[in-house]
Amino acid sequence: MTLTQGVSTKSRSRPTAPPAPSTKGKRPSRRAITMILLVAPAIILVVLINAYPLVVAASQSIHNGTLIVTGDFVGLSNYADVVTSPRFWSAARFTLIFTVVGVFGSWLAGMGLALLLRTKIPARGLFKILLMLPWVVPIVVSSTAWNWLVGTPDSPLPALASQLGFGEVHFLADPTLAAITVCVFKVWVSFPFMMLMTSAALAAVDTGVYEAAGIDGAGRWQQFVHITLPLISRSTYISWILMTIFCVNDFPTIYLLTGGGPVDATSSLVVLAYRSVFQDLLTGPGVAIAFLMTLVLVIISTTLYRQIKKVDIA
């Protein structure tokens, strides 16, 4: 198409195009009103579903009431009580450890298995299904199974440890071992999700890139570091964001296995919030913890999301 043709086409189209509506100083058109009215119910519903609980929770966090009565207005004293409590910082520390181990442990395991499943191994489909089981099985069943595995000295793992000469090992009674056990349990539950995300990302990578790199003399490790990881980085960041949210908000994995014990050794922020509201019946402080958690999650998610945008630009 020549420049002249282009210009002429452009000039021809002008008279047929509808005049651009000028909204300045004018009432919205009937069409716009119709659109707004059609969308309004959905928007109102979403706002009510999200905003109402948020407003109620915010109100609870600045009152000293219960789930039934609002109580007296106490300003930010619930927040002050929470952040000056050693238990909050102990829970925050465990939440951090639990999240870091949960995210990167499950990512490493998931990616390793995703890479393994790309190779030609027999019964690959069956392995994929079996490896998905920890993610698919309800957490109540998993935690019961793990409790059976490590709960008492007669359980299989402590019995094995005893036979191997480690003496009587209490996986859930010793604070350090309990924390390790809970983190390993989280990795076990979560790696299939990471495996699935990584498998999907790896499937989108053009195999021709590896062939070209091979011709250029790149080894397998170099291909992995310089080709695979950058090409799946967008998916990786997304899975990190999701898993971070899953870990910080993870209540059942911890609560069903250890209840946050022994002596708070595995109490995360969400467990602490639950126990404050529903066991100590301190609604205000419990909700304040939940709000602080939300704030931290928003910061982490935003940071990682910006990283994704950087990857997109690159």
């Binding site: 009937r30 119709t34 009215l37 059609l38 119910p41 000293n64 219960t66 789930l67 039934i68 009565v69 238990r87 409790n147 709960g151 008492t152 000295p153 007669d154 009587e168 209490h170 859930l172 009674a173 309990a178 609560y255 069903l256 296995l257 250890t258 209840g259 014990g261 022994p262 002596v263 708070d264 126990r275 404050s276 529903f278 066991q279 100590d280 019946l281 301190l282």
Partner: protein
């Protein structure tokens, strides 16, 4: 006809229909809300009775039958509320005026909701029990546990005692007799340890309150408790320090299983079943839960503590009436009927705890089990509630039972590493933070 009407419906008509579609459920919701307000404890004017799974599944089947058979002027409905999340369930229902008119529930629930103005005090009902003779049928002391300054918060229907149990076969194997005092308990524990058995079996793992109950029971046994006679936290006392020093000795001697701190209720049951537990504080139904080992399990007499006192811990489970009811008369009429039927739970039996009525405790169907008789005859007369040394129960006990301070305290003591006075001081601070609110 405009262009927009080609589909058979005009734009205005469509919007009108959409508006109507949205308004209909909204109006319906308003109507429901209005109804619930008018009928209060709803169900079309029926009286709602909420019950917990107190025994085997047959318990709730029987409960439902009792309620179905009720022929009072106000129809009654039956709903099972699971223990998991029961506080949320009750609280949200009460807040939205859709809660029960009468319910069973946790031991201190009545005091908790009474404090929030949701409980109808049972004084008139108790007066009516005096007239028909039921009042005198209650075992000594149990009705008094329901008294508050404002009236009776509930009506007892069963007690959950925490007696000491022992496995006779294991004690024989260890060559020791049944302990009658803490000193003998220590000696028996050492002997049991030599045969690989715990002489103070308990658990404080996920969802298991028994460890906490055991610690309080030991304090109460020694003449102590968590509260002073005015109901203020009073943990750091000589009696409590002495009791917890004894517990620490049990832990350090290896008499308490070092894994006990993490044992769930199932883990602990497994220890009893597998003959790894020789002596321990447990629920009245332990023998029934221990499978074939149950035949070797017996209730011990209350022990004489280091300070020479004899006492135990119990929870008086009760039936409570709420202010949100079709009518108070209907609630009381239903409660009277229900109280007259509860003997069937022990007659069947369906795994409930210890009765509060003499007529049930002395009946043949109950008295055939010597363990249950021992609990009624020997333990109940010396038992106290969580409120000890205060005689009346109060709202904050709901937060104390199952709350974090006590659970942490129990775990710390079972580990055997914490100084008793330091642990009690931490417990004191924790309880003060709960009770002050």
């Amino acid at each position: 006809m405009s262009k927009a009407q080609h589909g058979g419906v005009s734009r205005r008509g469509f919007l009108g229909l959409a508006g109507a579609a949205i308004a209909a459920p909204a109006l319906a919701a308003c109507n429901v809300s209005g109804n619930s307000g008018a009928n209060k404890a709803g169900g079309g004017g029926a009286l709602k009775f909420w019950d917990m799974p107190w025994g085997t599944p047959a318990y709730n089947d029987l409960g439902k039958k009792i309620i179905t058979d009720y022929t009072g002027s106000t129809k009654a409905t039956y709903q099972i509320i699971q223990w998991n999340g029961f506080y949320q369930t009750f609280s949200s229902a009460i807040a939205s005026k859709t809660g029960p008119a009468v319910s069973s529930g946790a031991g201190f629930q009545a005091f908790q909701f009474a404090d929030q103005g949701q409980i109808a005090y049972a004084d008139n009902f108790i007066e009516s029990l005096k007239k028909d003779g039921t009042y005198d049928d209650f075992l000594p002391g149990v009705l008094d546990t329901m008294k508050t300054d404002k009236g009776y918060a509930g009506v007892p229907w069963q007690t959950d005692v925490r007696p000491f149990w022992y496995n006779k076969a294991l004690l024989d194997q260890a060559g020791v007799s049944v302990p009658t005092s803490w000193d003998e308990l220590l000696a028996a524990g050492k002997a049991l340890k030599k045969v690989g058995v715990s002489g103070f079996a308990t658990g404080a793992g996920a969802g298991n309150n028994l460890g906490a109950h055991t610690m309080v029971a030991m304090m109460v046994n020694n003449g102590g408790g968590m509260f002073d006679p005015d109901g203020k936290p009073d943990c750091v006392t000589d009696a409590n320090i002495q009791a917890m020093t004894f517990v620490r000795e049990l832990a350090n001697e290896g008499i308490i299983d070092s894994g006990a701190v993490s044992y769930t209720a199932d883990n602990l049951d497994a220890q009893w079943k597998n003959k790894k537990a020789g002596i321990g504080i447990h629920t009245p139904g332990l023998a029934a839960r221990a499978g074939t080992t149950g035949k070797d399990l017996h209730v011990m007499d209350p022990l004489k503590s280091s300070s020479g006192t004899v006492a135990g811990l119990f929870f008086v489970n009760n039936l409570m009436m709420y202010t949100n009811t079709p009518s108070q008369e209907a609630s009381e009429a239903f409660l009277k009927y229900y109280l007259g039927q509860i003997h069937t739970y022990w007659q069947s039996p369906v795994g409930v705890a210890v009765p509060v009525l003499k007529s049930i405790a002395k009946a043949d169907y109950y008295a055939k089990d010597p363990n249950q008789v021992a609990i009624v005859d020997k333990w109940m007369p010396v038992c106290k509630t969580y409120a000890a040394k205060k005689t009346q129960s109060f709202a904050a006990l709901a937060a104390v039972d199952g709350g974090q301070p006590l659970a942490q305290f129990a775990q710390a003591m079972l580990q055997g590493k914490t100084d008793p006075k330091a642990a009690l001081t931490t417990l004191q601070q924790g309880l003060e933070s709960i009770v002050k609110r």
